[in-house]
Subunit: 417 residues, 2 copies
Amino acid sequence: MGERMSRRGLFGLGAAGAAVVGAGVVGANALLDEPPVAHAASTSDPFPFYGEHQAGIVTPAQDRLHFVSFDVTTDKRADLVELLQEWTAAAARLTQGKEAGAFGAVGVPPEAPPDDTGEALGLPASGLTLTIGFGASLFDKRFGLEGKRPAALADLPKFPGEQLIPEISGGDICVQACAHDPQVAVHAIRNLARIGFGKVSVRWSQLGFGRTSSTSRAQATPRNLMGFKDGTNNLKLEDADLLQQQLWAAAQDGSAWMAGGSYVVTRKIRMTVETWDRTSLAEQEQIFGRNKGEGAPLGKKAEFDPLDFAAKGPDGQPYIKVDAHVRLAHPSANGNAHLLRRGYNFVDGSDGLGRLDAGLFFIAYQRDPRKQFVPVQLSLAKNDQLNEYIKHVSSGLFACPPGVRDAGDYWGRTLFE
Amino acid sequence: MGERMSRRGLFGLGAAGAAVVGAGVVGANALLDEPPVAHAASTSDPFPFYGEHQAGIVTPAQDRLHFVSFDVTTDKRADLVELLQEWTAAAARLTQGKEAGAFGAVGVPPEAPPDDTGEALGLPASGLTLTIGFGASLFDKRFGLEGKRPAALADLPKFPGEQLIPEISGGDICVQACAHDPQVAVHAIRNLARIGFGKVSVRWSQLGFGRTSSTSRAQATPRNLMGFKDGTNNLKLEDADLLQQQLWAAAQDGSAWMAGGSYVVTRKIRMTVETWDRTSLAEQEQIFGRNKGEGAPLGKKAEFDPLDFAAKGPDGQPYIKVDAHVRLAHPSANGNAHLLRRGYNFVDGSDGLGRLDAGLFFIAYQRDPRKQFVPVQLSLAKNDQLNEYIKHVSSGLFACPPGVRDAGDYWGRTLFE
Ligand code: HEM
Ligand code: HEM
């Protein structure tokens, strides 16, 4: 009792130990080559916390998610800044596999509550990334931020068919925790909530698993709960030029404090899997425009064969129907708009009507939602055949500031200084 | 399109590939020696489906859970038996890393719905076990089973302080899916629900992670969401004599059809983690009677040091308080009653009051709940200091029949023949 512990130290994992641990959705990690940017060598190793951009955006998607949205309950700007500083210090530790505070879960003095909750003691960093974002509601009088709201953080329009539940939508601040081990992701969010006690309260939170998009060409493409490969034509970390054009905000976009940051849209999309499961294979494949086994474009053979929207089948009709999901969502149909998708599957128990409450927690990063998510989703909401099987039930939009440069910097400093 | 696929075949994992995949809560698997009973060699390998007992009870606890409770909606005994046969055939395939039906997710004909939902294509068996149980409500006139209800399946008494929600309690049939990968566990339950369409409906379902008990001495003890090691003094698969005495039902217990089976109690226990996190370390340790770092009994050094309830500290008081959790729950205080605990942590989003909805989904197997779970829980419900931080919100009790012997056998055959 009372002895300080380093999480990583506990089992003293050597290289051999580290090699077998922490992998999750399987094929993906087994096949992972060394990606070209900053990347944890084994799946339990840490990602660097400091850098130009926040981790958790282009870093190869981990297998588990705990996403939380907080409302700020203090109305003092100084309290909020102090909290962001405390959170940054904790995040710098947590992402490196350490406990949230210097005294840990079993630190001195025993008369005080521990400064870490302890459930991740003995677990490695597990590739944890923590990514913060600021919702439109933060930019109000309380904190004197009215003038700082980026134009790109414009409220999303109402989309046809959506049935949003306000209690699980929006929020002042979001934190996305991704890791290979859910216990590590949950531990991180919980300790941020603990540190924020009295200044923020949890508005909503979402667990996810089986990342539904690859964000690196070194990752095998995972499958969503409709059984299809998801992420084939995603924006990936190898697409250096596109990332500059389409992912990272720049000073000339109008809000200098966001340079190097990005905007994230979250949509909780409920699937009526029971109906989907009674749909024929041919119909399922036409809805997406890709086949189920390989993920190849209809009319082609391999997953990464290029989409050819003009190609016609023996019946004279295009292989990829005019209202197929990949056609409607493709950059060529949306003014060359790309998205970096980073969503997760969810199952939240059952819905009280005898069915599983399951679906996709869609997450997409981009430089300007007005030019990217919004037009794509407007087109999908109007024409996508998939709409018969899905329902958007929550929505979030957050401005994710640039990365924390070093130990003297903090999350959102450019916004407050 | 249309080609049959074997899940394991897809990535052609060799031994080297298999070695790095599928591990979850980390220290545990990294340190796993070869346990003494039937065990998957790597964490992605399958457990045998056929045997004297159902897998998923003493088999080393995997890291992820999807537990489902179904209500039977048909009132025809023949329909129910047919469903159990279909489920057994699917379970025999799924647990071996195959798809739910012979034609798979991309089988012929494309005009029909696939006979697997596809989201586990390419994933290995991941140690999946599927364990079925029958609730008291199944033993009624509908199926002519009134006379077969085991005495040990007596309704649980009302325990002081519990606040059970009927909608997430009970049910006619439960299935516990455990695996190292949540996508695999979810896929299995979903395909059983799909196969049962029109005969059963989902009453409730629960996801869990970070198994909160070790069930083998070869596993490192994991931590629950209060940050303590959980499972130290659990009944374990190495305890051969105790398992015969305390885990497996026998013919002489009164219900011959249950010989080789076991009874499972589930309790969803909500933790008010925010309050817990503001409690001092010393108080947390006194509540359990063990320290937080090592999990050692108070007054001792190492996790597996034996509990000494008589030992007194310098203040003349027992190191382990009279109302400490481990004292109240210990066999010596409960007529030598043991439990095989196999619970999981859960986080179900937030509770609408600014807090995470988190806790322990408690699962315990035993030979006779009247002599095991009930006295232990009565004592805990009355005296455990932990009650200040927890609330039981759901309850389940199911008779888990013996194992399926071979391909000619099915789940529950002894009950129906
Ligand atoms: C439950 C809902 C959804 C499911 C199941 C789903 C599934 C898929 C699948 C299977 C693909 C093909 C593989 C790939 O290239 O990744 C795909 C592509 C894509 N989806 Fe979705 N999607 C959903 C919702 C959305 C939403 C809401 C958006 C954006 C508003 C979106 C944007 C895209 C884009 C941009 C592509 C790539 C198209 C291309 O360039 O080829 N999807 N989606
Ligand atoms: C949220 C609720 C609970 C928590 C956090 C919890 C936690 C713990 C912990 C940390 C230990 C010590 C380590 C170990 O030996 O496993 C323990 C022991 C034990 N618990 Fe619990 N427990 C909870 C509920 C229950 C319930 C409901 C029961 C049964 C009715 C139970 C039965 C036991 C037993 C039998 C032991 C072993 C005692 C011994 O022989 O040393 N626990 N529990």
